[in-house]
């Protein structure tokens, strides 16, 4: 008898779960950049809390993967940490896809050093030369006579990707650069190491590290928004045509004050 009850209970649970999935038939597929992923994921969770009958699935894979999926029609929103390339837009036109860009957040990178470092600022080119191995001592950029300890991030991180694109350009990262696995780890190491230089997302700045002016501009929310700070980029959501219905309400949610608060919580700079 008891076994029968158990079987019945399991069957009932399966039915309930399946039913739940069935009910959430209004769904949105989001695919793309691992940088934008945490923003999209957190926004989707909050959005689904408010609208119980909506199901949003967010997948990573990289900006290119997301854009390809949008052009193939296999996702509703592509998240990307770079604007679409001309070839991608042309490819879309051939297939009748008309991608529309929505800038949902800004990503700023601060160059940080140990608090005891007397240096005030560097140019983008000096930072590039430090990271490519052409400059090895702080005195070469007007600082103390001390070896520069170069700290970088793993190539899987969005911050590395942004740094690579905004600072290194085509240059190769020096071999002896340290590789750390998180913004937090970089901040901790810089705070402990007198000769160190590193880069972290704006959201991770703290008094234990000193951020440098880049080309004379101090990194901050304001300088990123007014585009005077150079080490910043936009993060995008792409839709096919102007979003309508459910898609529109999700994008509007991301751009709403509540959505932009999530952007800030994830360590990025809100658009407004």
């Amino acid at each position: 008898m008891s076994r029968f009850v158990k079987v019945l209970a399991v069957a009932l649970m399966v039915l309930l779960i399946a039913g739940g999935l069935w009910a959430a038939s209004k769904s949105i597929q989001v695919i793309g950049s691992t940088t934008v992923f945490p923003i999209a994921q957190a926004c989707a969770e909050r959005f689904m809390d408010i609208n119980k009958d909506v199901n949003i699935s967010v997948k990573g894979g990289g900006s290119g993967v997301g854009i390809a999926a949008l052009l193939d029609g296999t996702c509703d929103i592509a998240i990307s940490s770079r604007p679409m390339k001309v070839e991608e837009i042309n490819k879309g036109k051939e297939r009748g896809v008309n991608p529309v860009a929505h800038v949902i957040a800004l990503d700023g990178i601060a160059i940080v050093v140990h608090p005891s470092n007397p240096l005030e600022g560097l140019t983008v080119e000096q930072v590039r030369n430090i990271y490519s191995g052409k400059i090895n001592n702080w005195k070469e950029v007007g600082g103390r006579d001390m070896k520069i300890v170069v700290v970088s991030r793993d190539s899987a991180s969005g911050t590395y990707e942004a740094f690579h694109e905004l600072v290194l350009k085509k240059e190769k990262l020096r071999d002896d650069a340290m590789l750390l696995a998180s913004n937090r780890a970089v901040a901790t190491t810089i705070a402990q190491t007198e000769g160190a230089i590193g880069y972290i997302g704006l959201g991770y700045l703290s008094p234990s590290v000193k951020s440098l002016k880049i080309d004379g501009v101090m990194p901050s929310k304001e300088t990123v928004i007014n585009k005077s700070y150079k080490l910043a980029r936009s993060l995008y959501m792409y839709t096919n045509g102007e979003p309508k219905g459910l898609l529109k309400s999700f994008i509007d949610f991301v751009l709403s004050p509540e959505g932009q608060k999530i952007v800030e919580e994830q360590g990025f700079v809100p658009v407004k």
């Binding site: 894979g61 993967v65 071999d175 590789l179």
Partner: protein
């Protein structure tokens, strides 16, 4: 009915672990081999620079292999003496009451998640190393060796202690009867008899040190260049895979290269375990 069910469950779970192992090895080699169709194994193993995301990419893992070797042997230098000494103490010198306290403590040490060890190495050991040795970086091969060395102590201790306790009592008594001291007995009777077990404990510790990922990712510093001293930051094979797999495009050359590293690591650990197992078996049949 109940027994049959239990039997089936046990059989399935035993089979599942074999299937998982098979799956892992098939996957590793299936995804790793395509890499060697495009890059020669010699360039891969002896190449001095690792720049997988550049154009054109460079896939030389020599600095990473050397980093792995340096950290592993450093860990053995720290962990083996500590482990064997505490095994000897536990097996022959510790009073029963103390032994009953020490063994559980060692087991707890073995249960601490590696990320906690990594945190310890990063926040406490790192700054200490900078101060004590006046070097420029605290996250380096030395730091990783120390932390990994401490991590392998419980494994080495418990395996070696098992081997030492298995030495037949007749042998010990014969030695004592001849007037040998406890220390002489350990050196001339216990160690030679338990040697296969001791060696297998060392090999197991080595396997653990090579395979450890999170800790070295956090404390070794991660520079993919050949270290000039033990105070230089290094990168290991495991840390490379963990750090880069997330963003390597699916089925790209970079992705296959990471699997190739994984396959090499897999071969090394299987070989170590196999040898360790052989020694442990020889011990039992003696």
């Amino acid at each position: 009915m109940g027994e049959k069910l239990a039997k089936t469950i046990i059989l399935t779970s035993a089979f599942l672990s074999i299937a998982a192992l098979m799956g892992v090895s098939v996957m590793l080699f299936k995804e790793g081999i395509p890499f060697f169709l495009r890059v020669s194994p010699l360039d891969f193993l002896l190449g001095g620079s690792w720049h997988p995301t550049y154009n054109p990419p460079e896939f030389g893992i020599l600095p990473i292999v050397i980093g792995t070797i340096v950290v592993t042997f450093g860990a053995l230098l720290v962990g083996i003496p500590l482990g064997l000494a505490s095994a000897t103490y536990l097996a022959f010198f510790a009073p029963l009451s103390l032994r009953e306290v020490l063994k559980p403590i060692l087991e707890i040490l073995a249960c601490i998640p590696s990320v906690v060890y990594g945190f310890f190495g990063m926040v406490i050991l790192g700054p200490l190393i900078i101060k004590l040795f006046s070097v420029s970086v605290g996250l380096n091969a030395f730091n990783a060796s120390l932390v990994l060395g401490i991590m392998i102590v419980p494994l080495v201790t418990s395996t070696a202690e098992d081997a030492m306790s298995l030495v037949p009592y007749d042998l010990l008594e014969a030695s004592y009867a001849l007037g040998a001291t406890k220390w002489r007995t350990i050196v001339y009777v216990v160690v030679p008899t338990a040697w296969p077990g001791i060696l297998s404990s060392i090999l197991l510790g080595m396997g653990r040190a090579i395979g450890e990922t999170m800790t070295v990712l956090m404390v070794a510093g991660g520079a993919a260049s050949i270290p000039r001293s033990i105070f230089d930051p290094v990168r290991t094979m495991t840390a490379t895979i963990a750090a880069e797999m997330g963003e390597a495009p699916f089925r790209s050359l970079h992705y296959h290269a990471l699997f190739a590293i994984g396959a090499i690591l897999f071969l090394i650990t299987v070989l170590l375990n196999f040898v360790a197992e052989r020694f442990a078996k020889r011990m039992i049949f003696q």
